[in-house]
Amino acid sequence: MDELELLKKQWQTREQEFPKLSYKEIYKMLLKKSSSIVKWIFLISIGEIILWTLLAFVVPESSREINNGIGLKTTFLVINIINYVVFAVFIFLFYKNYLSIKVTDSIKGLMETILRTRRTVKYFVIYNVGASVLLLIGINLFYYTKKDQLYQLMIENYEGYSAIPPESFTSIFFISQLIGGVIMIGLLLLFYRVVYGILLRRLQKNYKELEEIEV
């Protein structure tokens, strides 16, 4: 193989034709680990929308019937549409952050994207938790105004409820709603704290490192 030997000889002598990266340039590459964190944020937000959509399918038929019977069908539809639109906007923003962190090659640009991503995540969490709390309060207020109709529907759909006398129904129902709601919001907060909390802390650490070399 003369050609291979020729190539080998040539290979040894062409060390100098590559661009020489400086210490700082290589160091900056290490800091690009942020881009994978931002990518995860983007992917998790997509995972979340899939999760909520799937959860909507496991809502029991009886509870859907109650809500339809009491006149919340259209309201839920509208809320759902708004929710998906807002989610789509957030996913788009996360994607935009990911794109910009991928192409940026200045430390300053990187820091800005990290800040922006943190802000987007913050708003995302506030929206999700806030909307859930408002929705729970709103629905229960609505239930309260129609508590007699609700009682009828509950008796029709759940056997156990006929054992409860109408006088104590209101307090039992709303107390259990309250407990259920608090647990749900608590779980939601825990979920965000764990998932996004870890990612945001890493971003923050990276941001501090960037700050050090920028000054």
Binding site: M1, E3, L4, L6, L7, K8, Q10, W11, Q12, R14, E15, E17, F18, P19, K20, L21, S22, Y23, I26, Y27, M29, L30, K32, K33
Partner: protein, 166 residues
């Protein structure tokens, strides 16, 4: 954390010193400068992730060959389709022309593009061969036996011969 800082400093300066190894791998596995830079960065990140496990029982450069080639091979597998559509300009082999006449340069170009057309593993083997590594080093870097490395290399030479003289 001063420990992380020290580790970072030692890593970056060693990589800076040995960066040509990574550049050569990038040149071999990619076709344009964007892809070259992307691969360089990916290798840097993989090296940095693996660095805490590097105990210094081998030379930094030896360890680097292994991690960098593994990264290139893994990425190459993922983007097999895009590699296939390489333009001829991209594979051109820049050499200082004044010392070589046209035929030699032409031969080198053909050889280089033939090497670039090899599959990911074969390419890694040829790369180490071009780097003047002996079969023991090659086998250790790629995690195969020495005999296997020799047999593979002979097959690759055959393959290259048929590509060059169809």
């Amino acid at each position: 954390m001063p420990l992380t800082k020290e580790l970072e400093h030692s890593f970056v300066s060693q990589l800076e010193e040995n960066q040509n190894i990574v550049h050569k791998i990038c040149r071999l596995y990619t076709n344009d400068s964007d892809a070259h830079n992307d691969l360089f960065q990916e290798i840097t990140i993989q090296l940095w992730r693996a660095f805490p496990k590097f105990r210094g029982d081998s030379k930094f450069s030896t360890w680097m060959y292994r991690v960098a080639l593994n990264t290139a091979i893994t990425l190459y597998r993922k983007s097999k389709r895009s590699i296939k559509t390489q333009d001829f300009e991209g594979v051109s082999f820049k050499i200082s022309a004044e010392t070589y006449d046209d035929t030699v340069e032409e031969q080198l170009k053909l050889m280089y593009s033939a090497v670039k057309d090899l599959n990911d593993i074969d390419k890694a083997l040829v790369f180490l061969y071009l780097e003047d590594k002996n079969y023991r080093e090659i086998s250790q870097t790629l995690g195969i036996t020495e005999v296997n490395a020799r047999v593979k290399m002979n097959r690759i030479k055959d393959k290259l011969r048929t590509i060059l003289n169809p």
